[in-house]
Subunit: 328 residues, 2 copies
Amino acid sequence: MSNGINARDVAKLAGVSQSSVSRVFFGGATVSEKTRKKVLAAAEELGYVPNEFARSLITNKTRLIGLVMKGVHNPFYPQVLKEFTTHFKELGYSILFVHTNHDEIQKEDIEMLLHYNVAGVIITDATLSLKVIAEFKNNKIPVVLFNRKVEEQNFFSVGTDNLVASRQIAEYLIKKGCQDMVYISGVRNTSTSIEREKGFSEILIKYNVPYQVYHSDYSYDGGYKTAKMIVQNGDVPGAFFVANDIMALGVLDALREQSIEVPSETKVIGFDNIEMAAWPIYNLTTWEQPISQMAEETVKYIISEIEEYTDRIGNIEINGELIERKTT
Amino acid sequence: MSNGINARDVAKLAGVSQSSVSRVFFGGATVSEKTRKKVLAAAEELGYVPNEFARSLITNKTRLIGLVMKGVHNPFYPQVLKEFTTHFKELGYSILFVHTNHDEIQKEDIEMLLHYNVAGVIITDATLSLKVIAEFKNNKIPVVLFNRKVEEQNFFSVGTDNLVASRQIAEYLIKKGCQDMVYISGVRNTSTSIEREKGFSEILIKYNVPYQVYHSDYSYDGGYKTAKMIVQNGDVPGAFFVANDIMALGVLDALREQSIEVPSETKVIGFDNIEMAAWPIYNLTTWEQPISQMAEETVKYIISEIEEYTDRIGNIEINGELIERKTT
């Protein structure tokens, strides 16, 4: 309690036992109407507000949102963190931050989130097992997969439309006259990486444009090393579509090191539109993810499920847009 | 409760009232030894564990650490966030993340932290008023200023030794033969920026090396614009000491745009050693902040103050080291 007033003070002023105060605020056994009134009057006079923990015992709800994140080294995610913190703060909710080093969210993290009785959970770049999903569902805790989705459509996800995006990217590069292309994927089993490959290859196959796929890991180093390996073989493709911006920056640096001119000798296009993509040294053409709108949809879903738990499932996909810069 | 068992189930099995269960776990009025034993036996049989909120009512402590951060766009801070989340997780603590858009931590953020009865608070790049400090002290909540300190030494801070660092940087640049220099500061009233200027200018004055100070804001754009403005006047100094890496990257890009060769025409040195400083396109000489050790000292202090609150004040400064790359 920030003002230092506790249940003992309230009990003293109300002339009742401390246990009566506990019962009024924390629930449990019945308490007479007379006692309840005395306690509430004393609490008001003293400015006593049971803290969040006491409140949660009454309402069985907290105002904590668990946010699970892996890749804080990718500037996309700190931006996401900022969006959610800002949105939820306006609504009186706070962020319980969980960082995981693993692709799949760990048992101890789930236990912690349940332990704090979080009102909702947002999972960004980590994956969930079906068992974990069930644990949240059993506890009626709404979960949103942000910027990820899973095959088993039994929960709610919010992202950008990766198929639309990657098809448009392929068409754009074909129009630019690129004859053969490379797709550099992120972490192999992620929905984002798989869908971006799918849309891209669909169009290239349709137009009979040859392409190769290389698997990387969504990191700068991964992009750098993959591009270096490709061009060191002497093959410079007509264009690189890289599954996220931070890898694309690595690709650009590898090309620069090998004195391969962009966009004249090859073209590079990323995904996300992180701040650094606009830096003059990179000037990266990319696909802008509508982070703010994606965050808004996520918040809207979580708040509505907190108000009334319906276990609604679905997948909201918001269209992004091509940001044309100097690398294409 | 993750297993769905609640106080009502325990009461039923123990054959006591729900209020007795509450009293055993949540404290308050006395409960007979016989009842207590029955309740505890039933709780054990059912695997009932009062959640964190109930626990906090018993112990009057939580295992939440408030982490207040402003500049998530600067990759230094996501790295700090990751360090703290990892360290505290090992100790069973979780991170309540607070993002502030303001230099000074806001009243609503303080209230939120008090409301959740956090066990400790870490403040990175935001400032605190004396009033706020008093609120935490009144509640016996240990606070650490991380990578910041204040003139009024009435609390605990952990950082790198900025004076030692900036003196060594000045000596290093003088040895490299730089004849006139520029210091680009970060946000003007921050201790980091002030101390880095102080140590740097001390040495330059001692050796009679002329220098100019420009004030910027710890952002890439700030560094970029400041450097552009300086060199567009036709003056290219012998070296730039830039108060953090992300600004230094902006400086390097501005120099590149003006076709000013680094390190032959001018030299650039940053501060922090963020991941991007090592990217081949930048290859920035910088001062490495010992983030891991700084985080360890912070955690050590907070845990010891949680165990026994002594309101110990002080300032721990850990030496970093010069990382020499291609910009000097």
